[in-house]
Symmetry: C2
């Protein structure tokens, strides 16, 4: 029904996560009204994305061999925060409260999806750990896969004399006791702190 | 924080209707894992979309001077369905129940958005109407702008000896009486039909 160029545009948008036929058509129709210069710029942006590299140290997104965080001399190289993906780096960076560096695993161990430790950046993490590395902060999701990965990591780094920590578990900001699940409540009781006076 | 190629990709997705920062990042991260050939194909698809034309007769999307519907000799050229956009053509075509042709106005008259009759394809519609044109079916949305456009169109075609009709108004399939608004109920009462025996 539609011209084939239009169909192709719709097909492109349909490949995106969570985008169905209706939404893809809406996106495509929206682009039809754009200026040719803008469309060309978008087309270039897509092509340019192929030049995005991975940092050789931490596997975060990078323009060169190292990412901006690994290059930054003001970051504490003795503190390594382990995350599943580059997306998580941004989430933590947005808090402006962490001054260490990162290590991006490239996923989480998942028996259901068939992702095994050798598919992830565990070895490169071990190789990065030096005498003066103080702490490995495991910041994976609090899901089954995230917990599995955290436990594996702890065991994997056993022979290294380094402190491995996990993010605190408890009630989120604005959380209601009556909506919290039991595990969260158990963790928030176990991790309770004295109130500063 | 992100490489600038990545930022550009996110910016592209952010320009799409209803896409916020989180969704745009999600789309961009998804594309990072795609094969280079696929990315190149998408980039081409965007560029190729610039070659999409408008049908010279009905202003539907077209690859050549005429759209597939205007070219089709089996379509009834005496029946013209007037719609706001090419998107509406597809919605009606999906029903497989209309065999006439279309006329795409390119929008609806809207005083709030400053869209005036001269911005839309009214004159070209008038020029299309011939001696043997039987009916103009006005299939604009049942919104304020859609109704305004329908009323304007009826007046605009007054001097042409042609029947101008409007789509039936009433309860939608699966509609509940207690959820229907008053105008819909009024229209469905006024337009009631005898039940076939």
């Amino acid at each position: 029904m539609y011209p084939k160029q239009f169909e192709k545009l719709v097909d492109f948008f349909r490949c995106l996560p969570g985008v169905g036929a209706k939404t893809a058509e809406r996106y495509a129709f929206y682009l039809l009204d754009k200026d040719p210069e803008e469309i060309n710029a978008y087309s270039e942006a897509l092509k340019d994305s192929l030049t995005i590299k991975r940092c050789q140290t931490c596997f975060n997104l990078a323009e060169d061999t190292l990412c901006p965080i690994c290059k930054d001399p003001s970051r504490n190289q003795k503190l390594i925060c382990v995350v599943a993906s580059a997306k998580d780096v941004l989430s933590i960076e947005k808090t402006n409260s962490y001054d260490g560096v990162y290590h991006v695993l490239g996923g989480l161990i998942s028996t259901s999806k068939g992702i095994m430790p050798q598919d992830l950046q565990f070895e490169s993490l071990k190789n990065r750990i030096e005498e003066d590395t103080q702490e490995i902060i495991v910041a994976t999701n609090l899901t089954l896969d995230g917990e599995t990965t955290a436990l594996y990591l702890n065991k994997f780094l056993q022979d290294k004399q380094v402190l491995v920590t996990r993010l605190a578990q408890g009630l989120p900001m604005g959380g209601h006791l009556d909506y919290a699940d039991e595990l969260t409540l158990i963790h928030s009781f176990a991790g309770r702190k004295s109130i500063d006076k």
